[in-house]
Amino acid sequence: MYWWLAALLLVLAAVAVFLLRRPRPRESSLPVAHSGRITTLPSFRRAMRTRLLTTCAFLAVIVITGISALAGIARPAWVETVNPERKLRDVMLCLDVSGSMLGYDADLLQAYQELVERFDGERIGLTVFNSTAVSAFPLTDDYDMVQTYLKDAEEGFRSWGTEGTDYSWSTAPPHIDGSSLIGDGLVSCIDNFDRQDEQRSRSIVFATDNMLAGEPLFELNEATDIAVESDIRVYSLSPPSILTTTQTKELESVSDRTGGKQFDLGSAATIDDIVAEIQSQEAQRTPGRSYTIVHDMPAAPLTIAVFGLAAVFVLAWRVRS
């Protein structure tokens, strides 16, 4: 649609070259002698320099205008794929850091880091609990920060609290009896979801061995009720045990009731599968419809072309006069 612009510029360039080229003597040209009388004058040299500069500027403007016009004709665009559903997903990582789980926590946190790498748009939070729950970080999509926190936590568990962040101390205050208060932990995790007024997909990755020791405020059943009420799916992860215990069964029932799934924690490799499972499960629940948005960006080149065209006319007028 702007082809005429390119053609016009071509014509203008030709006219400019014709006007500004060094005059070539023709048959009718006037021979003169001793042109040094005028060509050695400083003002003549100055005028010639000005003329040269004007010519260069003219050609440069024409070239710039032409290039930007062509760029405008080429319709520059950038393509963006937007998945609005993903932005509506919240995943809370809920980690049991009781004594029985300490051996697995580092691996779990490493698995979480891998999980976070695959996320795009989902918000992630981490809540650790033992006898009480601590929000390591709230729901966020700042993945850099998330990775830093997860790394620190992993290091803390690997070095038994000498390096990184030690959560085992802060989650077991002396004035609360018992440890591994599973129900309380789950309720705390549920509580840590924000934006309650928005319609969002919420899920919890609940990593625990379900080894209860003490008197919790909420039984696991009560906590599950709350989760169901809040429409939160609980994916439970339990460390491998020699026999399928009642604890594992209980966890399975929690997942089933909330619409989640129960996984056995084998090795780091199976964690990958779990993550994929969780994601596909969530994808089914919140079908992501991707939009491909093509952003047309003709403004910059065409603006340059318009101003360039104006400059060409001004310069042409300057050269003619």
């Binding site: 005059p23 003597p25 021979p31 003169v32």
Partner: protein
């Protein structure tokens, strides 16, 4: 082979009537006054002759005024010094051909000399070489000389009138009437020294064929310098008001310098731009020479 001279003669008759031509004869013959007192004979007065050359006693016995003729007046040598370089393949300030104008001026002066019974020689050339002809007093010889100037058309060398003047200074011992036809090539100290030297030995007359006004050329003329035939001069720059002002100042300065220099050396000088002015200019020049400081 008398094409050039015939045309010049025709021009002298067409553009000036007989009286004027006789006037020129008088102008020419009085160029040499006071050089010898060897009285030769008497001749009829021609308008333009010096009043003091009139033999009043003889005139009293005669119906017409008579003028004394001296031996020295006869068989003089007129040396036509012409710049025949490519600088003369250009146009004058009036748009005429410089070479044709130079030939016309040389032809007119030469013709006067031949009629006066003097010998004419031509010294022409450019910066690289100088060619001198033998001295003879015939019209055919004059025609040959004019043809020589014409033959230099299309020369590839720049001019330098100083070369020709130097040549005269180096090669010619006897007194001559040196008639210089040059253009507006700037004169400097070197030329001044040469002219001064020449002036001490010879009678020198100087005609400047004016060059084109470089700042006043039309934009359609696409001028080019004859010394750089392939490259045109940019008329928009030439006619730029600031360039034009500076050029005119510089030109006026050079013109003043040339006039002052020649006047200081006691050399009659005039400028010619067009063939139509040639006869008048020649008359003016000879008159100026006669009246000039001695």
């Amino acid at each position: 082979m008398t094409a050039l001279l015939n045309r010049i003669k025709a021009r002298m008759t067409i553009h000036a009537h007989r009286r004027t031509r006789r006037l020129l004869d008088g102008d020419y013959s009085s160029v040499f006054h006071g050089q010898s007192l060897d009285f030769d004979d008497l001749r009829d007065y021609i308008p333009g002759d010096e009043i003091r050359d009139i033999d009043w006693k003889a005139t009293a016995r005669h119906s017409e005024p008579l003028v004394k003729r001296y031996v020295a007046h006869r068989r003089h040598i007129l040396a036509l010094v012409v710049d025949s370089s490519r600088g003369f393949d250009a146009v004058t300030s009036a748009g005429a051909d410089k070479r044709q104008l130079a030939i016309l001026l040389a032809g007119m002066t030469g013709y006067l000399a031949v009629r006066h019974g003097d010998d004419v020689m031509l010294i022409h050339g450019d910066a690289a070489r100088t060619i001198a002809s033998p001295r003879k007093g015939s019209e055919a010889h004059l025609e040959t000389l004019l043809q020589q100037i014409l033959a230099e058309q299309g020369s590839r060398v720049d001019g330098s009138i100083n070369e020709q003047l130097q040549w005269i200074a180096a090669h010619i011992n006897h007194r001559m009437l040196v008639f210089v036809i040059s253009d507006q090539a700037p004169l400097g100290p070197v030329e001044e020294a040469t002219i001064r030297r020449l002036r001490a030995q010879h009678e020198v007359l100087w005609i400047t064929v004016t060059d084109a006004d470089l700042a006043g050329l039309g934009s359609a003329s696409t001028p080019y310098d004859v010394s750089r035939p392939g490259i045109g001069l940019p008329t928009p720059v030439l006619t730029n008001p600031r360039v034009r002002a500076e050029y005119q100042a510089a030109e006026a300065g050079r013109r003043q310098f040339r006039t002052d220099l020649l006047t200081k050396l006691g050399i009659a000088h005039t400028e010619v731009a067009h063939p139509d002015q040639a006869l008048d200019s020649l008359h003016t020049l000879l008159l100026r020479h006669r009246r000039g400081p001695r």
